[in-house]
Amino acid sequence: MISMYWYLLVAAALFSIGFYGAMARKNAIAILMGIELMLNAVNLNLITFWRYVKPSNPAGQIFAVFVLTVAAAEAAVGLAIVIAIYRTRDTVNVEDLNLLKG
């Protein structure tokens, strides 16, 4: 088998890309996509550690399924919020959503 670290590297790379996307993109939907990427990177990390450390323990798989579920739910809610914002503000550009500016 190949070394665990290659999988972790991919996961880290994915996470970084996702983090950069969440921070640097203007479109709200693109930020959500970045958040999805981060979540999936975390998932990959989890599966890697499960397969290479203790494959008999089902906890790893269960945890990954949890994360997937939460990611899905959260994406749905996030999109709903974006739609609501679009309906009231007529924009999905997060730079325009600065009502909390002090």
Binding site: F19, A22, M23, A24, I31, V94, E95, L97, N98, L99, L100, K101, G102
Partner: protein
């Protein structure tokens, strides 16, 4: 029956309250309540009086007495309120209640009830006279000086209210006193007397620790008062009894209008005639005499225990002097009521003289009889005035004139004449009253006046006798003059020509009073005097010896002669050839004497210059001192200083320092906040960036430190 004695003043008092608070708009109800109240008191009073008369001299020994505790003083002393009925009270109740009832009934007619000229303040008049009646009745049954003083003052108040009843009346002649001024004059003059009396009362209380008559007049107390002395600047060493007696006599001088406090009574004639009858004939002025009668043991004590009699001498002198003084003034007066007013002052002088010489029974007797015939005379004069005013209206309307073009004095006898045919009932009752006052046998005044004269003669008080006899002559003369001018001859003005007889509500009381004025004297028939026995028993109880003097026929004849002589002289001047219209009074032939008498010896003018002007000046000066130049400016100055100080503090301390600190703190917070506000951009991605950097930092610390 005597248990109800305390109710006697309550009914008129209740009537007063009801009229004032409730019945005022309804004239009929008002006068019904008031007359009803006094009628109940009259029934009660006569019941008590007749019960007393039947009890006879036994009442003198054991007078009825009822007391309740009222105000506690100190530890073991208490002021009591109560009523007492002794022979003097009984006869006073008999007289006062009857006279009050007669006058109240008379007032219905006098104030023009049921006609268009009805007085607009009719109900209020009745309320006032009801309060007045309550005052007098209460005074008569009082058993202690405080209660007496309270009712005394109630009467003083009512005299002010009633004399000034027509307070809006003004006269074209500015010298003539208006009712408003007369009311004030009466109240203030009697007030002077009241203050003097009150000081006497307080001194008495200080010495004897009580003001109830039965407590003061114990032998122990009287002896103590007569023997303990006090040294005063002018009078020297005098017994307390004398000092207190003279002070209390001061109150009587004020209330009973003796010289020098007599000035209010003639001017009090400005009030409605029923008021004059009430106050100045029957009740209020008699209150002064009644006071001395009640306090007689005190007056007598100094003579009995210490052999000194200054207070009695003072009483007799002032009384006799006033009797002659007032009688002389009455001779020259033209106003029908003023003649009677001076007559009242004069007759009160008789009563005081009687008390001064020790004729206790005579004074009481004359007081009662005088009340009857004087109120009769006043009501009669009111009837005349009432008729004259109606005649005046009639004359004006007959001539088609509107309103009153010139002021017409309905009281002026020079405007009257020939009224005996126009007003017969008034004339005959007035004649009864005149004969009673002049002292003609068998009218009542003969007996009562003669008892005083007889007493003076028998005890050798020559000066008193002479003064009073001369006054009696003048009395008969001025009353004759009054009757001839008013009722005889031809009417001197149109008003007199058209004067109608008064309504029944006015003439019946005249008849009622005339009855007593004529026959009342027989209660004191010399030799078989019922009143001598009844009141005499009271006198004996208080330690005064009553000698039953032998009947001196010569003296009686002399008194009768004096009276008839006075009337005869009046007839000579006024009756034989009655005055015609425009004719001047024949007495003006006396020249300056007449002028002095007509101007009342200029006493009023004297008081004005000597007393009133300085007092007014002093008031103005004190006003200036207090409100303009001194006190108020100081107070205002203190205020201004306070304001100046506050202003300075505000400008130099409050605003810069205190406010500055507070404002500065706020400014600092704002600046600080402004600086920190920059972080809040409202953009989520900035927040995410910060989170990320922070996690990196923490990771760094955790892994490598």
């Amino acid at each position: 029956m005597f248990q109800l004695a305390w109710l006697v003043p309550i009914f008129p008092l209740l009537a007063f309250a009801l009229v004032v608070l409730w019945a005022n708009p309804n004239k009929k109800l008002s006068h019904s309540l008031v007359i009803g109240g006094v009628a109940i008191s009259w029934v009660l009073s006569w019941w008590i009086a007749i019960a007393s008369f039947l009890k006879g001299s036994a009442l003198a020994e054991e007078p009825y007495h009822l007391m309740v505790n009222w105000i506690p003083i100190g530890e073991n002393n208490v002021i009591k309120m109560g009523v007492a009925v002794d022979p003097v009270t009984a006869v006073m109740l008999f007289m006062v209640s009857f006279v009050l009832l007669m006058i109240f009934i008379y007032s219905v007619g006098y104030m023009n009830y049921g006609t268009p000229e009805v007085d607009p303040r009719y109900s209020r008049f009745f309320a006032y006279i009801s309060l007045f009646g309550a005052g007098m009745l209460g005074l008569v049954v009082a058993d202690n000086l405080i209660m007496l003083f309270i009712f005394w003052e109630i009467m003083g108040l009512c005299s002010y209210l009633l004399i000034g009843f027509w307070f809006e009346k003004k006269y074209p002649d500015p010298k003539r006193i208006t009712p408003k001024q007369a009311g004030l004059k009466a109240f203030l003059t009697t007030r002077i007397g009241d203050v003097i009396m009150y000081s006497g009362m307080m001194l008495l209380f200080a010495r004897t620790r009580s003001l109830t008559f039965s407590d003061i007049f114990t032998e122990h107390n009287l002896k103590m008062l007569a023997s303990t002395t006090v040294t005063l600047p002018i009078l020297g060493t005098v017994p307390w009894a004398t000092v207190i007696a003279m002070l209390i006599f001061g109150g009587a001088v004020g209330k009973s209008a003796q010289f020098p406090l007599h000035v209010w009574l003639p001017d009090a004639m400005e009030g409605p005639t029923p008021v004059s009858a009430l106050i100045h004939a029957a009740t209020m002025v008699s209150a002064g005499v009644y006071l001395i009668i009640r306090m007689y043991p005190l007056f007598h004590s100094a003579q009995v225990f210490a052999g000194a009699g200054q207070q009695l001498w003072l009483v007799a002198s002032i009384g006799a002097f006033t009797a002659l003084f007032a009688a002389s003034i009455a001779v020259a007066q033209d106003d029908i009521k003023r003649v009677l007013a001076y007559s009242t002052i004069s007759q009160l002088g008789y009563m005081f003289a009687a008390l001064g010489i020790g004729a206790y029974v005579a004074a009481v007797f004359h007081l009662i009889i005088h009340a009857f015939f004087k109120s009769l005379l006043f009501l009669g004069s009111g009837s005349v005035i009432h008729g004259m005013e109606h005649g005046h209206h009639h004359a004006l309307h007959a001539h088609g004139e509107h309103g009153h073009e010139e002021f017409f004095d309905a009281n002026d006898m020079m405007n009257m004449g020939g009224l005996k045919d126009k007003m017969p009932i008034t004339f005959w009752t007035f004649l009864m009253g005149t004969l009673a006052l002049a002292g003609v046998f068998p009218w009542a005044g003969f007996f009562s006046k003669d008892e005083i004269l007889g007493d003076a003669f028998a005890h050798g008080h020559w000066w008193v006798y002479g003064t009073l006899a001369l006054a009696a002559f003048l009395t008969a003369f001025y009353m004759g003059r009054e009757i001839f001018l008013t009722f005889f001859g031809d009417p001197r003005t149109e008003a007199a020509q058209h004067a109608p007889e008064s309504p029944k509500s006015m003439t019946w009381p005249l008849i009622g009073l005339a009855f007593f004025a004529t026959l009342g004297g027989f209660a004191g028939f010399p030799g078989h005097s019922w009143i001598g026995g009844f009141i005499g028993a009271n006198a004996e109880r208080i330690g005064l010896e009553i000698e039953h003097l032998p009947v001196n026929i010569a003296l009686l004849a002399l008194s009768l002669t004096i009276a008839l002589l006075g009337l005869f002289v009046a007839w000579l001047i006024y009756g034989r050839k009655p005055l015609r219209a425009g004719q001047v009074d024949p007495l003006t032939a006396m020249g300056p004497v007449y002028t002095v008498l007509k101007n009342k010896y200029y006493v009023d003018e004297f008081y004005q210059i000597v007393i009133i002007r300085p007092t007014v000046w002093l008031s103005k000066f004190l006003y200036g001192f207090d409100d303009r130049w001194f006190i108020d400016p100081i107070v205002d100055g203190v205020g201004a200083f306070g304001r100046w100080l506050a202003d300075g503090l505000r400008r130099f301390f409050d605003e810069p320092i205190v406010d500055g600190a507070v404002n500065g703190t706020a400014w600092l917070s704002v600046r600080f906040g402004g600086v920190l506000r920059v972080i809040q951009t409202g953009e989520v991605q900035n927040y995410l960036l910060v989170i990320g950097l922070t996690i990196l930092m923490l990771l760094g610390f955790y892994l490598y430190l």
